[in-house]
Chain length 449, copies 2
């Protein structure tokens, strides 16, 4: 999530005017913003102002703006739009954008929107809707401009002149055969720089692989990054050209994916509206707190086992938080490396053992180092060698267990098909708390009593 500072200054000023109730100047300022900026303004407004501004947005922009909004904010605004308005908003969109939006429209509206389309667009829309929203087919736009390989660049040029405008973000035309099978890519650059008499087939790029419509969005993004693409063809199982994906859609995929990773660490979704109504927000967070409570009870039931020890050596209760939190930090460092490594496809059978050895070594060394420090402090604090020994040992043990958990928790979650970024930290800290308390209190019972 890069700084939106690009427009946040303008947005900031607008917010102040809103609070100042200077609506006229707001209306004027709004026209200066593009849909994406309007969306981020709306997301940054409390409900009342949000509705106010939304009503000032020009009809033609409404569809575009809705698309740039997080799901929760979008749903909130659409709930208050009447059908006519929704149909109008949807009408102005590209097919791929329309497909995204339609999934959030009530059935009744969807039908009217589809009715409003001409047969060609309807066919296109159905083609996009046939695929998961987070697949190449769901991301694609159906406005790809195609040419045949057996014509000259001169013919292509005359065709383009006749055709007039090209769809936005058109950096290349797609070459297809009679049946519509994808054959290759003809960049506008080639059309302009090569001799007009050469055949398309002679200058097209056949290397450029087309993306299967079922390819996952994340893989699409990776392909764009690795091959530095501006656009790519999307094909079906038979190799027929279905449409194209442009890099601006890929930007959204990457941004969303990054937001999801950050938010899920706190049990939130990337669509969480920062100004959400209290009721919904409370409910969503309660779930995460509840899950965490269960794990917390687990930890404290371990402490419960040693009530006798604690009542005799209260210092152990004082040192409990240190052992637990050091383990939590150490483990989360390993966990974070693993989460990224798994996301980047860096981790596999080939190197897990090496990784495990390395992380265990790092944890053990740091464990020893900080065990000495904490032990020394404990000695000065409580004037007890045995206690210093106990807390020191507990830390070494817990740091090592933390590393093990940091490696195996994400691996196991991944194997179970659960996003390690989502559940990882809760499970990990459960390990480090339980083991931290247990090692400290068990050792205390053995050595100090």
């Amino acid at each position: 999530m890069a700084e939106r500072a690009g427009n946040s200054d303008a947005v900031e000023r607008l917010r102040e005017r809103l609070t100042g109730g200077r609506l006229l100047s707001v209306r004027r300022a709004l026209h200066a913003l593009n849909p994406a900026e309007l969306a981020s303004l709306l997301e940054s407004l409390p409900p009342r102002h949000r509705r106010l501004v939304w009503n000032m947005v020009e009809r033609d922009d409404e569809g575009e703006v809705l698309l740039h909004l997080g799901e929760e904010v979008r749903a909130g605004l659409m709930r208050e739009m009447d059908v006519k308005e929704l149909v109008a908003a949807a009408g102005d969109l590209d097919i791929d954008d329309l497909a995204d939006l339609i999934e959030h429209l009530p059935e009744s509206v969807t039908q009217q929107v589809v009715k409003a389309l001409d047969t060609q667009d309807r066919a296109r829309l159905e083609r996009v809707l046939a695929y998961e929203a987070d697949s190449a087919g769901g991301l694609m736009n159906t406005d790809a401009v195609t040419v045949r390989g057996d014509v000259t660049l001169d013919v292509v040029q005359r065709y383009l002149r006749l055709r007039g405008e090209l769809p936005p973000h058109t950096d290349a035309l797609f070459v297809v055969d009679r049946q519509g099978h994808y054959r290759g890519v003809l960049t506008l650059e080639r059309v302009l720089t090569r001799d007009a008499e050469t055949l398309v087939s002679a200058v097209m790029d056949e290397e450029r692989t087309a993306l299967p419509a079922t390819l996952a969005a994340e893989r699409v993004a990776q392909h764009f990054e690795d091959a530095d693409l501006l656009s790519a063809a999307v094909i079906d199982e038979q190799g027929l050209l279905l449409g194209r994906i442009t890099v601006d859609d890929v930007l959204d995929v990457i941004r969303k994916d990054a937001e999801r990773k950050l938010m899920s660490l706190a049990g939130l979704t990337e669509d969480e509206d920062i100004f959400a109504p209290v009721r919904g927000a409370t409910r969503r967070r309660a779930i995460w707190l509840g899950i965490n409570l269960l794990t917390a009870f687990l930890a404290s039931s371990v402490v419960d086992l040693f009530q006798g020890t604690i009542s005799q050596v209260v210092a152990l209760a004082v040192l409990m938080p240190i052992v637990a939190s050091m383990g939590g930090i150490g483990g989360s460092q390993t966990l974070t490396l693993m989460i990224r490594g798994l996301a980047l496809g860096q981790i596999g059978s080939g190197n897990t053992r090496f990784l495990l050895r390395k992380e265990l070594l790092v944890a053990a060394i740091n464990g020893l180092l900080w065990a000495l420090v904490v032990g020394a402090v404990a000695l000065l604090w409580f004037k007890s060698w045995p206690l210093a020994l106990v807390v020191g040992l507990a830390i070494v043990i817990n740091q090592t267990i933390a590393a093990l958990a940091g490696i195996f928790v994400p691996l196991t979650l991944k194997r179970m098909g659960i996003d390690p970024a989502l559940a990882g930290s809760v499970i990990l800290t459960t390990f480090t708390d339980v083991c931290g308390f247990f090692s400290l209190l068990a050792l205390g019972t053995l050595i100090l009593l």
Copy 2:
């Protein structure tokens, strides 16, 4: 960080061959990978295999591959390259890429690389190096193709045919005046679709704003996203065209920024090599553990104040972890929303108070809810109404404080110019631990003794 699954299958297979020592087949397979894929393979290999593969990479690719590597991995490989090799690798790069790499080259090598360039490229390189790496000027490439506004599209076309190939990712030409001041953008699409006799000035896009060379990389990325650009002109204070930024560079900026946010939550940097030598990794992590230890001591010194209470009511020691961790979770949820909100520029004077009220309300309601649950459990567990009351109150208090901290810690850090994502969670959990322990034990002393 999207799944790199796109190439991770191939990478996975390669890793297995490496472990199997089937080097010949590895060498063959390597040729199938592009620089980005080679880079992510190298990053996913333990040191020994990494060196093995690196030596198999073709000379011409080395520069490109180095660029796609994380700083730490890159530095590791470059340390083992001799000057000739480094100069060769650097020689094959675009100016903007070369500029990125040069910052990591030893002075001696840099000079030889620069000597190897022709005067024009040397001038270009200096132009790029004049700006921060994470500014528009540092991101830009100097290969922008320029035309004058007072010529016809026909002339442009003949010029392009003469010129032959255009630089990669050229979707538009830039229109400049005699002195080289930026005037507007002429997309290839217009050149191809408009009448050949029209003047450039008549069909160029003057709206498209050029980016000041000093603009921060994050703002550049935001501008690309909001305006859906494929490329943008970069200008100096006088409005002279310096170069252009293409969307593929923007993808890297966004990816890096996202990685930094995730890694910094664990006190790591996005350049951390998952297979880093133990020594360095241990040192870097030790710092973070040390910082955390200080905060942990703070928490346990609070517990220390109440040794007397704990020795009489050991159950309080059992419940300590619950109060603390519930506060930590609640607070981190607010913190995460704030970190994203600040990154997206959604939070400002206009709405902080609304936000505070909402988060406090959410926290209070959840606090009450879970206070009842924990209170009930405590009652069943320890058969003590007063104890149930104490832990319940402590939770309500701590959840509320957690929300306050979740709002004000990031705001304060931001004002101090510190990245909230980096220091936020440590400071927040310090608050929630200290306040959690204190409220529980202080209330316990008042009510239970």
